[in-house]
Symmetry: C2
Subunit: 97 residues, 2 copies
DNA sequence: ATTATAATTCGACTATTCTAGAAACATGGA
DNA sequence: TCCATGTTTCTAGAATAGTCGAATTATAAT
């Protein structure tokens, strides 16, 4: 992953509604949750939530699938792990830490 | 670590100059680097760098020590690891990921 | 077709953050 | 004490991000 993608992912997650949404989905597992349930669980107005989901989605941190008229979102664990790896890359100048 | 501290840390690192500074320090190891060297290496004007170092410092992501008239900054690995742990906490609803 | 439901996009507004020159502050050496 | 050096603080303008009601789109059920 290149620096700019990392930055986009970090920016996406560094906002209180989005951090809450992302964690909610991380904890929900592969199954995910429809937008409406997320809005309800976290008490975020639909138009605001939609704005935040778009950010997370375009950062690659969440996945989307359709089921009837619901859009179901789930965490993209692979991308989360890639971001984490980037942060610790070439860490500590050879020492332990 | 509580949610708000995590948010402050993520916000601190989710900015291009600060991400560059943080990685530079992560790679520099315990020894750290004086502000002037960071500014030079990353080509950031001193006053801008100072603004960013303050953000990183108050987010707890970097440490500061004085040596003569230099201020030497280094990465706070413990805090970085705490942030990473938070993101993966209660992950995946029991499944692997 | 009509109506209901799920969610998104639009738009206008507010708030926050970034930038970097100039000025100030602190330390060390002559 | 005076000057040079390293860094920070101040300031104000520019840029970016967040909020959410109203309108719109898409799917499904009757």
């Amino acid at each position: 992953m290149e620096t700019n993608e990392i930055l986009v992912a970090l920016t996406a997650i560094a906002q209180s509604s989005r951090l809450a949404v992302f964690r909610f989905l991380v904890q929900a597992g592969e199954e995910g949750r429809p937008a409406g349930k997320i809005a309800e669980a976290l008490d975020i107005p639909p138009s605001s939530l939609s704005f935040h989901l778009k950010e997370l989605y375009s950062a690659g941190l969440i996945l989307q699938r359709q089921d009837g008229r619901s859009l179901i979102y789930s965490a993209n664990y692979a991308r989360m792990n890639a971001v984490i790896s980037y942060l610790t890359e070439n860490c500590c100048n050879g020492q332990s830490c």
